[in-house]
């Protein structure tokens, strides 16, 4: 530790810190543009100048100057102020005075710091330089004349996102930040460029000229478009959600957000179900809530409880799933399923289906085996964490499954189960790598579980984990990577076929007479039996609603208070930012109201009572935002026989990252991303 005095305040900071960090520790704010604590130090904006005693009498860039024991730093001397004013004057020489038409206005570092260090007029009488705007794809809008060359975007894309596509070409006054060749950024994290740009050079294209930051109501919530559960802030105005930004959660998303989670918000306004619909004479017709309830009740009255089933969707909150489960139990049905993809899950023990190492725990691992997953598409933020660990070195990674560019180096050691068998049998060199490692980890993707031999693959991977030292009382290296935000919560509360109950496959094709879909759109609705009566409860008119006989309009994730459990098993609360449109209601309230209508009133009248019930069903729901990490003392594995794994290769799980759920499919921005990034269709043979 080094003792540093900043403006008379003594602080101790770790050796190797820079002066800027010491100033932060002392609570002294240092203006900066290029410095970002998650990126490498560039030291090129020169805004963070400070004066240090017993050094040459000149200002030092605090971000690039290491601390030394006994250092005395002054941040508010005449020299420092004059130097910063000088830097600001230089920065403003070529920066346009277009704040009134700039989307960064109101949340612009340059604007804020110009208040402190700018002058009221410019001494610069020459022509300002103008720079041609770059086309970075459908998400990031560029106004390159505003760029102050801090190079944060270049460092972010190279270091964090792992796609070296942005750079600074030419030099001096001709220097331009861009891709040199016109192309859309091929990163799932490109939206973060908008956040890290300290000026208005990179702004959100879909959000251009939509709102000013001070007009927005800010609601802290949690993202549900993948299973990572990133912390988000939902910005809304009136009844509209206008944008989604990341919040800092060091354990999950640090301060980043994936593009689908950030830019799908325009899907919240389109294809919405805003009233009840009932199918009459083969066509869906608008109906009132009593009419819709009556239609369902009429049908239910003449159906045996064992002939009705319920399917929970990928975006469902735990409250509504529990209400649905309680309702169906009361109606005498055990036909429940949350696995629209048919992925195998052993809910016998929680660590059979969660990401036990935890996302932050990846940084402590020293070897990684990925089985049947493409973390870059399935969980971009988790992938960024793997890359962060990989960059530190000493992190051998192997992949079994479809080859892909994951933004870090790995050995592609196989395509399918036979490689797992080879690892188990010690016939594969990587098993030695894992044995030697002290804290190895394994990530098992849905692509390896959603197949007939999923149970056997799960058991084989667990055995492999046990055999290679991934399971110890101090360390848990076995991880299942989910892609559906609702999945772990559903497994936690047992939204699975009960005793004698039917799974999704058995409910389809006439297995039940009434099928209740809670936002379930990710399965082949054509496989539902022709005579099955389908109730669709959800927010968007997607394939589930198209097949429905009765539609009950529900709320999207920004319109309800809900509990979500991410792939780690972290319980988090999403919050209501705006009210659901039209007649739509929060989902658990719909179910509670319907239960009263059919005379099976659910025993909770408000969300507090429902959450109390949730805790009684599974105590994990009481641990909100807290994720205790356990080692694995009991290495007894899930049911399954590794010997029965079939030879077929693991298929890629997500083909199109940008459209995986009803919200992103309704989003024009995501549609545009799909158009830009989709691989060119194969040319038909002539």
């Amino acid at each position: 530790m080094a003792k540093v005095t900043v403006d008379g305040i003594d602080v101790e900071v770790p050796n190797g810190s820079n002066v800027l960090q010491a100033c932060e520790a002392a609570g002294v704010e240092i203006p900066r543009f290029c410095y970002h604590d998650r990126l490498s130090v560039a030291g090129n904006c020169r805004m963070c100048l400070v004066e240090i005693e017993k050094t040459p009498p000149k200002p030092f860039a605090s971000c690039a100057y290491p601390v030394a024991d006994g250092m005395v730093v002054h941040t508010d001397t005449p020299m420092v102020r004059a130097a910063r004013r000088g830097v600001m004057e230089f920065l403003l020489i070529n920066h346009p005075l277009d704040c009134p038409i700039c989307d960064q206005g109101g949340e612009c570092d340059l604007q804020d710091q110009a208040v402190g260090y700018g002058t009221d007029h410019s001494r610069y009488a020459e022509n300002k330089r103008a720079v041609k705007d770059k086309d970075l794809g459908p998400l990031v809008k560029t106004v390159m004349t505003r760029c102050i060359h801090c190079t944060r975007c270049i460092r972010f894309s190279t270091e964090i996102a792992g796609v070296s596509e942005l750079g600074a070409t030419a030099r001096g006054e001709s220097m331009e930040v861009g891709t040199y060749v016109a192309k859309a950024l091929s990163s799932e994290l490109s939206g973060n460029l908008i956040d890290i740009c300290p000026v208005g050079a990179l702004t959100s294209k879909p959000y251009a000229f939509v709102a000013r930051p001070w007009e927005l109501k800010k609601t802290d919530s949690v993202d549900v478009l993948d299973a990572v559960g990133a912390a988000i802030r939902v910005d809304s105005r009136g009844t509209e959600v206008l944008r989604v930004l990341p919040r800092i959660n060091e354990d999950v998303n640090e301060e980043w957000l994936a593009d689908k989670s950030r830019f799908s918000v325009d899907g919240l306004k389109r294809r919405r179900l805003d009233s009840c619909w009932v199918r009459r004479d083969g066509a869906l017709q608008r109906a009132s809530w009593p009419e819709a309830f009556a239609a369902i009740e009429t049908k239910l009255r003449c159906v045996d409880g064992r002939r009705i089933g319920a399917l929970a969707g990928n975006l469902s909150d735990a409250e509504s799933m529990l209400a649905l489960k309680d309702l169906f139990t009361a109606l005498g049905s055990a036909n429940l399923d949350c696995r629209q993809d048919g992925a195998h899950a052993d809910a016998g023990r929680r660590d059979f289906y969660t990401f036990n190492t935890s996302i932050a725990g990846i940084e402590a691992a020293d070897a990684l085996l990925i089985v049947g997953a493409n973390p870059r598409r399935e969980a971009p933020l988790l992938n960024a964490r793997i890359r962060k660990r990989w960059l530190q070195g000493g992190f051998p990674i192997a992949l079994i499954g479809a080859d892909a560019d994951l933004t870090y180096g790995f050995d592609h050691i196989g395509d399918g189960p036979e490689t797992i068998a080879a690892l188990l049998g010690g016939r594969q060199a990587f098993s030695d790598v894992m044995r030697v490692a002290k804290q190895p980890m394994l990530i098992l993707g849905q692509g390896a579980l959603a197949r007939p031999d999923g149970a056997d693959v799960l058991a084989a991977c667990w055995q492999l984990a046990a055999a290679t030292g991934m399971l110890s009382p101090q360390w848990h290296g076995f991880n299942v990577l989910h892609t559906a935000a609702a999945r772990v919560g559903a497994l936690d509360l047992g939204f699975l076929p009960g005793r004698g109950g039917k799974s999704l496959g058995q409910m389809l094709d006439g297995g039940v007479d009434v099928l209740w879909l809670l936002g379930a759109d990710e399965f082949d609705t054509a496989a539902i039996g022709r005579d099955t009566f389908v109730v669709y409860q959800g927010s968007h008119g997607d394939c589930g609603a198209a097949r429905a006989d009765v539609i009950l309009p529900g709320a999207a994730y920004t319109e309800k208070n809900g509990t979500y459990v991410n792939t780690e098993g972290r319980v988090q609360l999403g919050a209501l930012a705006v009210y659901p449109p039209g007649e739509a209601r929060e989902d658990w309230k719909i179910l509670r109201a319907f239960s009263a209508y059919v005379g099976r009133t659910l025993p909770y009248d408000d969300i507090a009572a429902l959450r109390a019930r949730l805790e009684r069903v599974n105590p994990v729901f009481a641990r909100i935002d807290i994720l205790p990490r356990f080692g694995c003392a009991d290495t007894t594995g899930p049911a399954g026989d590794p010997g029965r794994m079939r030879g077929a290769a693991f298929a890629p799980w997500i083909d199109n990252y940008y459209q995986t759920d009803p919200i992103s499919r309704a989003s024009p921005t995501m549609a545009e991303c799909t158009r830009v990034h989709a691989p060119a269709p194969a040319q038909a043979a002539e």
């Binding site: 190279t158 070296s164 942005l166 750079g167 600074a168 070409t169 030419a170 891709t179 040199y180 060749v181």
Partner: protein, 214 residues
Amino acid sequence: MAVGTEGTAHAPEPDSFSFDAASEATIARILAKYPAGKQASAVLPLLDLVQRQMARVTGSGWVPRVAMDAVAHRLDMAPIRVYEVATFYLMFNTAPVGKYNLQVCTTTPCWLRGSDAVAHACRRATGITDWKETSADGMFTMTEVECLGACVNAPILQVNDDFYEDMDAESTERLLAALKRGEHPEPGSVKGRQTSAPEGGPTTLTSLSFEKAE
């Protein structure tokens, strides 16, 4: 736009680029200088090699983007990292140039010694009106460069790799006429002095003898 007689002055971006056999031999020699995993250090010599191969093959020494991609591929670098280097150094031409790249130094010492006259003579002789332009016959491109580091012999006109020193309007015109005829005048001072020694032989310390003392 007029296409030069050499057919190279306004050449479009080629579809592809690959190193020829002569370049490949040089690449092997260059790469051997760097330890394994540090090949990216060879980006400057390889870009230079590209420019020389282009000059040899097409008569126009420039670095097309496809060639930058080829260098990136060869050195296992992201293409943008090569673009950054190639565009940073003004010695790499990112657009086609004429057979002779007339690099006129206009930094203060050369300017004081008459670089304006040199530039003017170049314009008059080639018909070029502005910097970065190529003459209609595809023979010459004029480039304004910063200090070439030969101020003692100012002003300097660098033609491709060769320095022509102590230039003035007349010697510039003579030089360009010779180049047009396909001749290759001896580089160095046009006034005939040895490197940067005084004109007409030594002017100081003339009494000193360098004979061995008895």
